[in-house]
Symmetry: D2
Subunit: 355 residues, 4 copies
């Protein structure tokens, strides 16, 4: 029971995203953390720090491990994060002969940040595909109704007649740019984290770069020259991208809600939300949700931007705030892309045909 | 699976609040909505709109009702909220003879807002009690260590010696004021919502005020003269109060983290978070969390304040945004009060005893 | 040259407030700081720390002093605030015999915070009067058009007919509550600041409370028992009040803009902004500005709330952020109240008369 | 008199930026608007819509024009922007024979957005140069002190020894990425705006693209295929960049303030702010300002992101909000880069030399 809309049986379909929630949820997150630990074990073997067989056995055992969640919750409450408790459970479960390949030399942040990046990669792919679908849907809408007439509105007043295509151009314009921005930011974002306790790699036996190269290859990530423990700019940039995308979709939703208010001659939705009291209404729910989700993400972004003030070699305060904000921004963005898709599909007509 | 920290098995103990989450969770929320519907049925009887027996049977059936959540999710996705689907399920489940006492005349917002207020009342009580406990704990801390010496720090530089009590005065000062503010805002917040489809009471058979009085008495809420569908100021005020409270606690957390950095002569914590890599560390996790939660709520508040722009007779966009933001602010505040309590308890010493 | 709208010759009339800008501007701010220094000199005499005559002469000289602004700017750049440089200039200008009555024992924050509070008192009065005028104007609007008919709109869709008075009730409802909140917060806000370097009063010769009482009487402020250097909750509460007020006015502006879009049958404005290209338009500028200013203040509020994390005995970072945010929130609120007044005056009709 | 820090004689040196303020101030802004009008006159001639000589004379007269600012303020208050009033003044001042080359076909937004972009180009150059200087300064710092020892701090606790260079790596890392991002966003940002009243180019005599090409060449901007009146993504992206940059510098400031607290063995500043009460102090003012300015920009960004919801063909509300937020973000960023430069120069030592 979470008490938030993201956990509400009746609201999460509207305001969250099942696919992204699954990708960011505890099962996937645990699996990602274990993948990082396993990749580390194998990388240690690859650079000769532990025997191959030990590392292989450890990696398999790590990947197969299921933690005691109650215990993990208790230790996380103490430690402020799950990794120390997870590693303790791993060590308790694995034969002592394998311990040399388990975690030693890593820091919690190496594990959690790399696990996050593995999820971000999938979320980027998913959002990119969804955004592509919205672009296609808007292109279809433009093909169907682009030549129809409507009144152009400036400062919420009738201005001059335009075509529906004119208005749609303003909806479509930013979206390919958002795809371009995603392409630009991906290499800054999808990077292995490896630095050890204070980010210097000093606990990695002088082989930080070699270990990083092996792990990065195994996890299909870029391997930066040094840890980015305190350099959170790529995450904030990604959050900014999410907020820009939902903002652009919010403009579309706002426009649709405004167009739907004036009756079928401007925009007709095939269906919409029912009212408990007024049977005649067709509420433009998805259009409204686009506005809601845009404003939600804009609010989160201010907090996320503040996490750049990540003091010293690790800020528990800033790092934890990041965990609170970035996932729900991804969920809201997923929800917005879905709502946009539904909304465009539901448009039965826009504008009036030229006589 | 929510994908957010509020649903994380290993982070919700730290960043959420089990008690508040339960109070705001789907079971309680559904129960609150049904309580409102039941109170409405009985109030209709009290004013003579339906027979007492019909209303009584309907109220009992309503309170005992368990909705089909899958169906509810599907209708909420369409309607943007659960009530129309819930009412449809209720009507399908209840004998037709009782339908006259079910919902007719109400609007979804009457149900959801009043249900929210029922939860808010309990959350206010809970937060007030927790805040009282933190005030008591700080008083105890002051009694134990108030006379000890420490260096006063201004602009992060040693300034002049002060007592620990001097510093603690700055932690304690705002808290009774927050209690006072809560007392002031409660009557504005804990008010029945009743207005029907467009807030005018026009569907309530000319008996809006009498029905409101009966419902308010049954639910132990104030009954304002008119609906506050579009007047969200009390909710924003409450959100501002939450953010002020977590901000004041954030100052305490920030100070404790700064005091704990310099070794036991300034502040010693009995326990703290373990590091996966550095056994010697005692991390001031709860102090950090107070900073995190303060910044989280400050971010949410900007979005919540925007929901005052609740256009016309009902804004789906603004109302839904409120649902996204206010609950997680309550959860974060609950988490902060718990963290503050734990943190104060863990302080083993502050300052140095006067020679 | 400021480069912001608040200094723009052609935008400040719309987005700032000349009266509040003057009250917060450098001349008034300097005068307020000097008033505090003068009141302190006299209070020192009243408690016997300096001879009456010395204090009287010093106070007169202080109030008559005009600083060298270039020098002040240079020292403020170094010190992060104007007071140390101002005091140095004062001491250089005043005969040495008076120096014992100048500033010694105070800290910069005593001066700046008390000076701020003097300005806040006037701004509160001014905003209260303006808000009263808006309440009156809306009452007049309701008397003129309240009985007219219009379509109630929920979720941006026609719902059921309402009267204009029904809609106006939602505009009017929050405003008296805002007056009530202002009354509640004033005693928390309008308080003398006096604490000396680390807030303990240790430099005030054991007479902190007596000096505070004299200064408070002279400046007509409340005198709290201790300094509130690090307790910024009343300032944040006031900022929240400003944002709530502009938010409530933003709802009115949003509604007017929506009503004005559909032609004279819903709402007709006597005048509005001209377009450089479309002579037929009457743009609802003031209505739009209410939305703009509401969103502006909502953004500032997130930053202001963060200033509660005022670390240790004085946070240069948090305190300075307060200076950046709170004044422009007051200006925006003043601008919003003016825009609301203009907008209401410009309404020539709303709704349709019942046949 | 503006009443904000950006207009304060004693704070603008610290919190604003004289060079950027001049570039964004009214004189430069007026000149930029007139440059756009002049370029349009010449472009009309280039495509044959007006005689070359008429256009040339008009362009010269436009560029030489000095508006009556009082009149402009009065019309801007009515119109919500300066352009309609400015054009009216221009027409009144210029011989009627030139009127055909003045503004006709343009819309206010074409003028104001293009004028803004002209300023943004210079601000981008200026910020890039300043950022380059900070990168160089940090490189120098690293060369001087990189080998020294210091204690690595995680979660505000001593962790393991690191070198000063290790810490500095975390300061330096994001900065070249910010340069890279600026390079990426420039082509999206520095684009002519040309669309006429509703953005379709319909008032440009069928020669929108040709006119755009001429104007863009004259103003050295890119010429997009269509107007971006309602597509504000590049502006929000730029605001996000500003906030990311100040956030990265805020981390440096936070670290310096933390390092300076513990005495000269960790970090010694050559100079710092004086206290009005404590002569022994050296306050790390510039370090604190970096934190302040980072938090300021993070707050503005939430509002700016909301301006993406730019409804229909022109949103007065969203556009005006952009004017309120983006300039002060640029000023704060300029201030932060200056503060960073001063702060780095003032560092006399960091860390301890290896024995």
């Amino acid at each position: 029971m979470t008490g938030t809309v993201f956990g509400s049986p009746w609201l999460q379909g509207l305001l969250s995203d099942a696919e992204i929630a699954a990708r960011l949820g505890p099962d996937a997150q645990m699996h990602d953390m274990l993948r990082v630990e396993a990749a580390y074990a194998r990388a240690k073997a690859a650079v000769g720090q532990v025997p191959e067989e030990i590392a292989g056995d450890a990696a398999k055992a790590i990947l197969a491990f299921t933690p005691d969640l109650n215990l993990l919750a208790a230790t996380a409450l103490r430690d402020g994060m799950p990794v120390p408790g997870l590693v303790a459970q791993l060590r308790a479960a694995l034969p002592e002969a394998l311990h040399g390949a388990v975690h030693g030399g890593l820091t919690s942040q190496d594990v959690m940040d790399t696990a996050l990046v593995l999820a971000l990669r999938d979320v980027c792919d998913l959002l990119e595909a969804r955004l592509g679908a919205v672009i296609t849907a808007l292109k279809g809408l433009s093909e169907r109704f682009g030549a129809a007439q409507m009144m152009g509105m400036t400062r919420m007043q009738p201005a001059l007649p335009i075509t529906v295509g004119d208005r749609l151009r303003g909806w479509q314009g930013p979206l390919p740019r958002h795809l371009g921005r995603l392409t630009e930011l991906r290499p800054r974002l999808l990077r292995l984290q490896l630095g050890g306790p204070v980010g210097t790699g000093s606990t990695l036996g002088g082989q930080r770069d070699a270990i990083a190269a092996h792990m990065a290859a195994a996890l299909d990530l870029a391997a930066p020259d040094s840890a980015w423990h305190v350099e959170r700019d790529a995450l904030v940039e990604f959050g900014g991208w999410l907020a820009m995308l939902t903002g652009s979709l919010g403009k579309v939703g706002q426009d649709v809600a405004l167009m739907a208010q004036s009756g079928p001659q401007v925009l007709r939705l095939a269906s919409g939300g029912a009212s408990s009291a007024m049977a005649h209404k067709t509420n433009p729910i998805d259009a409204e949700m686009l506005v809601t989700l845009a404003r939600f993400n804009a609010a989160q972004l201010t907090g996320l931007t503040g996490t750049l003030l990540h003091e010293q070699e690790r800020s528990g305060a800033a790092w934890t705030l990041e965990w609170m904000l970035l996932p729900q921004m991804m969920l809201a963005t997923g929800a917005a892309l879905s709502a946009a898709g539904r909304m465009v599909s539901a448009i039965e007509s826009i504008g009036t045909t030229r006589a």
